[in-house]
């Protein structure tokens, strides 16, 4: 047929040598870039499919955080009189719930992604890392919808963010990278040890309480803050409040520790993933 169309249409390099896996294999970024359209289609599929055959569709993306906000406000804000840095408790908690739910969703999806896509893994070749990356990105649309509600609440409470609002995209990126860093580990482990699947729910629950979502990080004594930063989500959640609600101080030290932690987990995760991805098709 159209043989000359081949050269611009096909993805793989023209010479491939297939050999037994050996030692350190870094993720081939150039190859990942060649497959960027597949990444796009995988994300697109996850988004398209998520609310298929539900009666209210994407409204679920708003109901979940709003409902959580109601519960938190009732029990922690109203009954337990949790301090909220002088900000109305509902918006205080909602502002933290958004990055948290993005994270929890991305983490769960990416951890289950390789196992969930085993029909692809065992039948087609493509850089395996695309699967957890796509899973992590799929939650951004939900996040965007819930974010609109936050903007509405800010108008209602008459809150005008300062210049710090420009940092929000960076925080979102950081949430995604954090989820990916942990998700790479769990996705690869899940292939071999299905125990991961049962650990996930419990892990995200504990992690939620270790993150200043329902309470301000000021509740944690100052001298523990560097240690607290080992939880990367702590810095992000406080960062969100700082950027959008203008809480007095930025999450400086906390965030610096968090970034360091995430980079270490990410590098380790990429390495571990790359080391065992060749065996995915055999053991999944």
């Amino acid at each position: 047929m159209v043989m000359n169309a081949v050269s611009e249409s096909w993805l793989e390099p023209t010479e491939v040598v297939i050999e037994p896996a050996a030692g350190w294999i870094p993720i081939n970024l150039r190859e990942v870039w060649n497959y960027r359209e597949l990444l796009y289609f995988l994300i697109w599929r996850d988004i398209k499919v998520r609310y298929k055959q539900t009666a209210i569709g994407a409204v679920w993306a708003i109901i979940q955080p709003v409902f959580a906000m109601g519960v938190f406000s009732l029990f922690f804000g109203y009954l337990a009189k949790m301090p909220s840095n002088g900000i109305p408790y509902p918006i205080f908690v909602y502002c933290a719930l958004l990055p948290w739910q993005l994270f929890a969703h991305a983490l769960t999806e990416s951890s289950n992604s390789i196992v969930g896509n085993q029909n692809l893994i065992t039948k087609v070749y493509f850089p395996r890392v695309l699967v957890p990356v796509a899973a992590v990105c799929g939650g951004l649309v939900d996040f965007g919808l819930a974010f609109v509600v936050l903007l509405g609440m800010m108008v209602y409470y008459g809150m005008v963010p300062g210049i710090a609002v420009l940092a929000v995209p960076l925080f979102i990126l950081f949430v995604v990278v954090t989820a990916l860093a942990v998700g790479l580990w769990l996705a690869a482990l899940n292939v071999q040890y299905r125990d991961v699947r049962y650990t996930l729910g419990f892990l995200t629950q504990v992690w939620l309480f270790a993150t200043p979502v329902a309470y301000p990080s000021s509740l944690v004594p100052e001298r523990w803050h560097a240690l607290y930063g080992l939880n990367p989500m702590a810095g992000v959640v406080e960062g969100f409040r700082w950027a959008l609600l203008g809480v007095a101080e930025g999450p400086g030290l906390l965030l610096a520790v968090s970034v360091g932690v995430v980079l270490i987990i990410l590098m380790g995760g990429l390495h571990y993933f790359a080391r065992i991805e060749d065996r995915f098709a055999d053991i999944v």
């Binding site: 047929m1 159209v2 043989m3 169309a5 081949v6 611009e8 249409s9 096909w10 993805l11 793989e12 023209t14 010479e15 491939v16 040598v17 297939i18 050999e19 037994p20 896996a21 359209e37 597949l38 796009y40 289609f41 697109w44 599929r45 398209k48 499919v49 298929k52 055959q53 029909n119 692809l120 893994i121 065992t122 039948k123 087609v124 070749y125 493509f126 292939v191 071999q192 040890y193 299905r194 125990d195 060749d278 065996r279 098709a281 055999d282 053991i283 999944v284």
Partner: protein, 462 residues
């Protein structure tokens, strides 16, 4: 034209037994770690077990020492029994799994088709799945855009293109899935048994498309059980057996040899001891055979070959009037025909003195379709009661003669495959409604018969 685009050197793949099916629970690894000191201690005290023996127990080589080359534009068929390593080889070449030893070098862009419809999502529409599946198989969006209409036309799903594929019939689903796959244009195409699914019309379409691909000068590796397709599409065939290359060479030669070995035939059974042979106090079987013309041993029966079914039996009751009756069953379990010795000229209707007899039934060529057949033997007395019944007394295979097929490589439909006489005559030079209507009125089908399956003409009504 003769450059090598694919070269495998000593390719091998070892699985731990059960590895494909089982995943580890963390508990297993923990116990393994906990018991490690005890194991090491035991190893110190005793002679360590021989490594080779241990490997023999828990390891399994799905592929071993496979070396071959494929030149540009060549179509290589890969055949073998289930579990011979065909799919493992394709999985290694398409980079889904790594070899344990050896290496493969591929020059050119590789497209693999190990399954039709990989990644199809039931909730997405036909249109959406074309894009998703195309991307998964390695097409760029621009390329899919360009081929979209062609794919839809090939799949014949124009009306349902915006319907979720979960509402598709399985036929539509398969056509759409194959439609996407058929529009892949890699330089090296790896295809695994994808044609084994679907109905005859679908298979015809797929095989036709495969033929086009082969003719277009693409390099193809084609795994199949369909020997007719392999022989027609491939120039060279590699036969894998238990992970190793058993034979490699000209498609016709290797495929024929494979069919002879692979056929699960029971062409001959002999019981030398009449006291112990199957039967009863009235009759015992001595032997049953499938033989060629005039009793010569037969190697391969194809749809053109005449052959004979030969039975030898002991009559133990002096004076019994015996008849044989045989029924031939096909793979689907349908009885293709039943025949008896009532037309046998020498002994039918006579009293059989005790002794050893032989009856032979001649089966003409161009009667049975290709496939596997089982024979049921009945020994009948006085045309009324059954003395003895023996199921599957012989089992034989009829192969496709591949004659008169044209471009159609799939299963030839029909229980039988007779060679029937046809005639065609030219009735008239120019359309002339008057003559045409009187000449053809008796035979022309009336009513809106639009199906593409030709209906039998009503020749007898004339």
């Amino acid at each position: 034209m003769s450059d090598v685009v694919l070269r495998c050197e000593g390719l091998g793949k070892r699985y731990e037994i059960g590895e494909r099916e089982r995943y580890l629970a963390l508990r297993d690894t923990l116990t393994h770690v906990l018991y490690a000191p005890a194991r090491r201690l035991r190893a110190l005290l005793r002679q360590p077990p021989a490594e080779a023996a241990r490997i023999g127990d828990t390891m399994f080589w799905a592929l071993r020492d496979v070396s071959f080359e494929v030149r540009r534009g060549e179509v290589l068929g890969i055949i073998g029994r289930n579990g011979a390593g065909k799919s493992t080889l394709l999985k290694i070449l398409s980079r889904i799994t790594k070899p344990t030893v050896g290496r493969a070098r591929l020059r050119g862009r590789v497209g693999s088709l190990l399954e039709v419809g990989t990644g199809f999502h039931p909730e997405l529409t036909g249109r959406e799945n074309i894009y998703l599946n195309g991307a998964i198989l390695g097409m760029r969006k621009a390329e899919i855009d360009r081929k979209f209409d062609e794919i839809v036309a090939f799949a014949e799903v124009e009306r349902f293109i915006d319907t979720p594929v979960k509402r598709y019939s399985s036929g539509m689903y398969m056509r759409l899935a194959f439609g996407v796959a058929a529009h892949l244009e890699p330089e090296i195409l790896l295809v695994d048994e994808v044609l084994a699914v679907g109905d005859a019309a679908f298979q015809r379409k797929c095989l036709g498309k495969m033929g086009d691909v082969a003719k277009a000068g693409r390099t193809v590796l084609f795994v199949s059980h369909n020997m007719t397709a392999v022989q027609s599409l491939c120039g060279r065939v590699m036969w894998l057996d238990a992970g190793r290359v058993a034979r490699e060479g000209d498609a016709g030669v290797v495929a024929t040899e494979y069919m002879q070995v692979a056929a699960e035939s029971r062409l001959e059974q002999v019981w030398l001891d009449p006291t112990n042979a199957p039967g009863n106090e009235s009759v015992r079987v001595h032997s049953a055979r499938v033989v060629g013309f005039e009793g010569v041993p037969i190697e391969l029966i194809d749809t053109r070959t005449a052959f004979a079914l030969e039975f030898a039996y002991w009559n133990l009751k002096d004076g019994a009037r015996l008849n044989l009756c045989i029924s031939v069953y096909n793979q689907e379990g349908s009885c293709v025909f039943t025949t008896t010795t009532v037309n046998e000229p020498a002994w039918h209707g006579r009293a059989f003195p005790a002794g050893l007899y032989r009856s032979v039934c001649q089966v003409p060529g161009a009667l049975l379709n290709d496939g596997s057949y089982r024979v049921l033997l009945l020994v009948v007395q006085d045309l009324a009661h059954i003395l003895y019944k023996h199921e599957d007394i012989v089992v034989f295979e009829v192969h496709d003669s591949a004659e008169g097929r044209g471009k159609w490589y799939g299963k030839w439909s029909g229980v039988v495959r007779p060679d029937l006489e046809w005639t065609t005559e030219r009735l008239q030079a120019r359309p002339d409604p008057q003559i045409a209507s009187c000449e053809l009125s008796a035979g022309s089908p009336n009513g809106g018969e639009t199906g593409h399956v030709p209906k039998p003409t009503r020749g007898g009504s004339r």
